[in-house]
């Protein structure tokens, strides 16, 4: 019971510290009002004022996602995906009768903050396993903390190379760019008949840089010559100099490793410069937000991903409808993968017997998770063991089929 009063004290402490960051503060206040009754009850319990049963029935799972800051554009849909899956699972009786409680903390899309939040969730909140962090950049820094503490860390949005080679407690259901990009490129090359390409990528971010490395390798394998390679940096807003250069280079397609935030303005500016070439993007460009940000300039963008808003599979349609009902907006890939990840974890949890011994339970869960299978919004899913830096078996990557799409009239059209 000590930890509940501890939590309240921490909340007050944080509220004071957070005066400089009002939004986070506000979300804390919201969360506080939502939970206030529960918290007050717990405080009473902590001081022994009210007699009552303990609430050990809940299975506590942590999530560290970027809820504020620039990366919150990915972190917030992820939280919505978790919450949707959670409400469905809990409404359906939970895990063998026990409900899942999700403790979500804000890692702000920063490495240092991700490490702090991981430590807090693992050592203070004593979660059984944890999801996150949002960015591959942060995962490189924080996942070793979970590995060291022998707690499962399950990434739903980390697609850069090398994340799962950190250790055998590291899982992800986000398909790596290494698996997807060659397929996208091959199909786009077949259908558009491209002969030589220009490459454009963000060189100061591990996600877009790793996407570039994979594109480069795939282009070499397919023997497609690259006429020019251009870069940009996170937060850049002006891409016309690079695009002007690409226009003069004689390329017949632009291979782009970017997130929507930069990718969409790039497409608009390219069309303004009179560049009608096809764009081939990574899964960072697989979001209906492309159509909001590059409206009417978004045609002829090729992307590959296990998830598509247009995929007519029953599970996906059900997910999209439920998500729209709950959040009044279309989901994106980040939401879909978070939603599926919660179900994948639930499959493993259903199979194991929890003893209440935290360390033993954490290990039991780790041992059960690799065999979990699930068919959800992103299609049939299973894990595949990755190889560590030392050549020994390490964490687990996703095995899924890529859907290749091209944009037309503000919609994705499935090609394969």
């Amino acid at each position: 019971m000590r930890d509940s009063s501890f939590r309240l004290a921490r909340w007050i402490g944080r509220a004071i510290v957070n005066v400089g960051a009002p939004v986070q503060f506000r979300s804390e206040v919201l969360r506080f009002t939502m939970r206030s009754r529960l918290v007050i009850l717990r405080v009473f319990l902590a001081f022994g004022v009210l007699p009552g049963p303990t609430h050990a029935a809940e299975i506590k799972i942590g999530a560290a996602e970027a809820l504020t800051g620039n990366a919150s554009q990915y972190g917030l849909p992820i939280r919505k995906g978790f919450e949707l899956a959670l409400s469905e699972i809990n409404a359906g009786g939970g895990i063998n009768g026990r409900k899942i409680e999700l403790v979500i903390e804000d890692e702000q899309g920063k490495k240092e903050e991700a490490i702090n939040v991981f430590k807090k969730l693992i050592f203070q909140d004593k979660v059984l396993m944890l999801f996150g962090p949002t960015l591959s950049n942060s995962a490189q820094a924080s996942d070793p903390v979970a590995q060291g503490a022998k707690v499962v860390v399950f990434g739903t949005s980390n697609t850069a190379d090398g994340i799962t080679s950190i250790g055998n407690y590291v899982f992800r259901n986000s398909v790596t760019e290494a698996d997807i990009l060659p397929v996208t490129l091959k199909i786009a090359a077949q259908k558009t008949g491209l002969k030589r390409v220009a490459v454009l990528y963000g060189n100061d971010d591990i996600f877009t840089k790793s996407g570039y490395d994979n594109f480069k390798k795939a282009l070499q394998d397919l023997k497609i010559p690259v006429v020019t390679t251009e870069t940009f940096a996170k937060g850049d807003v002006d891409f016309k100099p690079q695009l002007t250069k690409i226009k003069a280079s004689g390329a017949d397609a632009i291979v782009m490793s970017a997130l929507v935030a930069e990718g969409a303005p790039i497409m608009v500016q390219a069309r303004q410069l009179g560049i009608a070439l096809p764009f081939i993007g990574g899964n960072g460009m697989n979001s209906p937000r492309v159509f909001a940000l590059a409206k009417d300039n978004s045609d002829n963008l090729w992307v590959g991903s296990p998830w598509s808003v247009e995929n007519p599979a029953t599970e996906n349609k059900r997910f999209i409808a439920a998500y729209q009902k709950a959040h009044a907006t279309l989901p994106d890939q980040f939401a879909a993968q978070a939603y599926d990840a919660m179900y994948i974890a639930a499959q493993a949890l259903k199979k194991i017997k929890l003893t209440g011994q935290l360390e033993a339970d954490r290990k039991t869960l780790r041992d059960a998770l690799p065999t979990a299978q699930w068919s959800g919004a992103t299609g049939p899913f299973k894990f595949r063991q990755a190889v560590g830096r030392d050549g020994k078996p390490a964490g687990y990557d996703a095995v899924q089929t890529a859907i290749v799409m091209v944009t037309k009239a503000n919609l994705y059209v499935i090609q394969k």
């Binding site: 009002p22 939004v23 919150s72 554009q73 002006d238 303005p265 009179g274 940000l293």
Partner: protein
Amino acid sequence: MLAQQLINALSLGGVYALFALGFTLVFGVLNVINLAQGAVFMLGAYAALHSVVALRLPLLAGIFLAMIVTGAAGWVLDRWIFAPLRARGAPHLAPMIATIGVTIVLTSAIEGTFGAENKRFPAELMPTEVLSLGDVQITWLELRIILLAFALMALLLWGLKRTRLGRALRGLSESPKAAALLGVDVEGLFRMTSVIGAMLGGAAGVLIALYSNAVFPHMGQPMLHKGIAIVILGGMGDIRGALLGGFLLGFAEVFSVAYIGSTMRDAVAFGLLFTILLLRPQGLFGHTAQRRA
């Protein structure tokens, strides 16, 4: 390609110069390094976006409203932060650090209200006509951005040179004490400067948002870094320096991409600034440090 890159550099340089003007004006007159200028720039973009999307105003009215909103922000900034610090004779670092706080508050407030994700101006409101001159493509939008940036700069320069207010401002930046002795309303002018500086920043914010199709809460940060570099390059507090510095940075960036490589974009641009400062530590139009003291 060269002609197109010239156009690119001209529009980018125009926005940089506009941003740097507001920044340098506040420094020249108030002697404050206003690190909130980046946030004000972002506020301008959001104000215009909101008035166009939610209030359904035409684009030009949106720009006008954005300048009013950011002008008001400039007023508040001076009334509640710079003025009290001035009255207490706070050291130079105090207002600068206070403006960092303002940046955090503004950015978080916008992030909380409008969300962290990128926004854009509705496509149907944007002029889409493209002017093709041979190989060069200029959208009407770009043309208007360049014209508007130049018009605002010309207005400021004319105002400073020819009007009573401008003379008073120039006197004030020479010596507040002497200006006060000559009967200039020093406090009023300080406030006015903060308002004008913020309005220029806000206008630059709208223009870059229109130019690049991207509005997001953290858009002010890279701009602020560039603005600081431009102002230092031009000579702290010097209007001509900010103008020239803005265009210089725009051209340096664009041409380093065109002829050296985009990886080197910032390295070349800032390397150039560094070299100029080695040769002229006071900046292109800078006064010597002793004169101010």
